[in-house]
Amino acid sequence: MQGFGTDEIAALFARLADVFAAEKEALIALDGKVGDSDLGLTMAKGFGAAHDAVAAMETPTPEAQLKTAGAALARAAPSTMGTLMATGLLRGSAAVSGAERLETAEMAAFWSAFRDGVAHRGRAQVGDKTVLDVLHPIAETMQAQAREGASLDAALDRARVAAEQALEDTKDLVAQHGKAAAFQEKTRGIQDAGSTVAVILIRTMAECAAD
């Protein structure tokens, strides 16, 4: 594919809205294990709002679309993950300022900024069993792929694979933040809910690129 232009980004948010609507119950159940069961609701609502806002734009640029999506998400779903994903989108938007299409290099910049934004806002460390544990390998993989000059669809697919592995690895960690932290050792063996959302993001993006 020729990278993500405004049409592809619009299509990406349409697809994310669908996917999070479909995953609603699964995410509720997952967050319910060591959390408050709201993740399915907030992600479905938040990405639904992001899609609506992006779809309503008249003269979009990638930067503006990502910013609009982030702002809509922050407004519609001010939960931990809603706010973090919004922060990621807003920071990622700034990182692709001016670009008309997001190729591998721009996408790598987007994901690095996304990760950094989440790290800043959430004050978590890699290994704390949060969404950062998946965002970090995504960003690192994208950066490596960009250095190697990989195509966007190949790069995203590698990032997806890394993300899925990282998600699996969150099972071995003990939660240090948010509602899950109260469960301490009991969180071991359980896949982190927020990290699952990050995998859905990169997977959906990779699928869009592959289509």
Binding site: I28, D36, S79, T80, K179
Partner: protein, 333 residues
């Protein structure tokens, strides 16, 4: 789900509509019902802003009123308000003396208040932040900064509210709130779960004969799940956690809050208070102020919490001061 609701999506906004209809002394800043403010702000006073998820009435918005708070960002059930909403409230209540954010130590709220504070700063509004972190069950001593904020935040509102009403500057009001926060301990016990309207079923189960000591107000796990014991024994097991962290040899006077989580009858709260008072007095404390009732709920959860604020000569008169909100009234004493 046995609730009086229409479309669960409208739960919060219909509740707010009801509140605004009933209480003309509060209103919303701009069009968003969830930007909850006093109808009249006090010129020159430090603004006090709280916020957090709905489902805890009278927390949070219920403490907006005279001698208490000036505004609240109202989130969805158990959800943080957005940074945009907090910012809108901040703008409305700022009277040139700056704004103190006072809320519970939860990730979502922390992030959104931080974002709002950063944005307010860009607009030239000075903000400061103090978080309630009174739940002793939520982290071990030494890790107090990680603790959740629960019912004890009422004492922060009370102290900071009275301080701000005395026209103290932002730094002073923040210092007092921080002191109240550092001196407040809460421990809760839950007997039944609660239902988020949009979810429609309980988020967890508690066996017919079980209680969970230390459970959080969103159902976060506690420190022990046991067979329900007689009331005095329940208090004994709870209060130990507080007594272990407060020493009444110097500052003897305390304020006590026995809080119902929603479904527990007031009768039972007084039975719990009775034992709480016995135990505190036996430990050398002198109960100077008592608050009993529903101050911070979890919808229809059955259960209670006990909060103790260890007073000093600065905090005592601030707790003694009167307060007047639609949900909380206290005559000065």
């Amino acid at each position: 789900m046995k609730k009086f609701v229409n479309d669960p999506e409208n739960f919060v906004d219909e509740m707010l509509d009801g509140i605004y209809r009933a209480h003309p002394e509060v209103t919303h800043a701009g069009d968003d019902l969830r930007c909850f403010v006093r109808s009249k702000q006090v010129p020159g006073k430090v603004g006090l802003v709280t916020g957090g998820g709905s489902g805890h009435l009278p927390l949070f918005l219920g403490y907006v009123g005279e001698n208490m708070l000036d505004g609240a960002g109202v989130g969805g059930v158990f959800q943080s308000p957005s940074s945009e909403q907090i910012l809108e409230v901040t703008r409305h209540v700022d009277q040139g003396a700056g704004v103190l954010y006072l809320y519970g130590n939860y990730t979502g709220d922390l992030m959104n208040f931080d974002m709002a504070g950063e944005l307010a700063d860009l607009e030239g509004i000075k903000t400061a932040t103090v978080v309630g972190r009174d739940d002793v069950a939520s982290s071990v001593p030494g890790e107090e900064h990680k603790r959740r904020g629960v019912a004890g935040i009422f004492f922060l509102y009370k102290a900071a509210g009275a301080a701000a009403a005395r026209m103290m500057p932002l730094e002073e009001v923040a210092r007092i709130a921080e002191k109240a926060s550092a001196r407040t301990r809460t421990i809760g016990v839950a007997l039944s779960p609660c239902i988020v309207p949009e979810v429609g079923k309980p988020g967890f189960e508690i066996g017919e004969n079980e209680m969970e000591i230390g459970m959080g107000i969103h159902g976060e796990p506690g420190i022990s799940r046991d067979a329900l014991a007689p009331a005095d024994e329940v208090v004994d097991r709870m209060i130990e956690r507080i007594l272990a962290e407060q020493d009444y040899t110097q500052d003897k006077e305390v304020a006590v809050l026995v809080n119902g989580l929603g479904a527990t009858p007031l009768e039972e709260l007084y039975i719990l208070y009775r034992r709480t008072a016995q135990r505190l007095e036996a430990a050398g404390a002198q109960i100077r102020h008592t608050f009993i009732g529903e101050f911070a709920t979890s919808m229809e959860m059955a259960g209670a919490s006990i909060s103790v604020l260890q007073l000093d000569s600065e905090l005592e008169p601030l707790i003694a001061a009167g307060g007047d909100t639609p949900f909380f009234k206290k005559l000065a004493n």
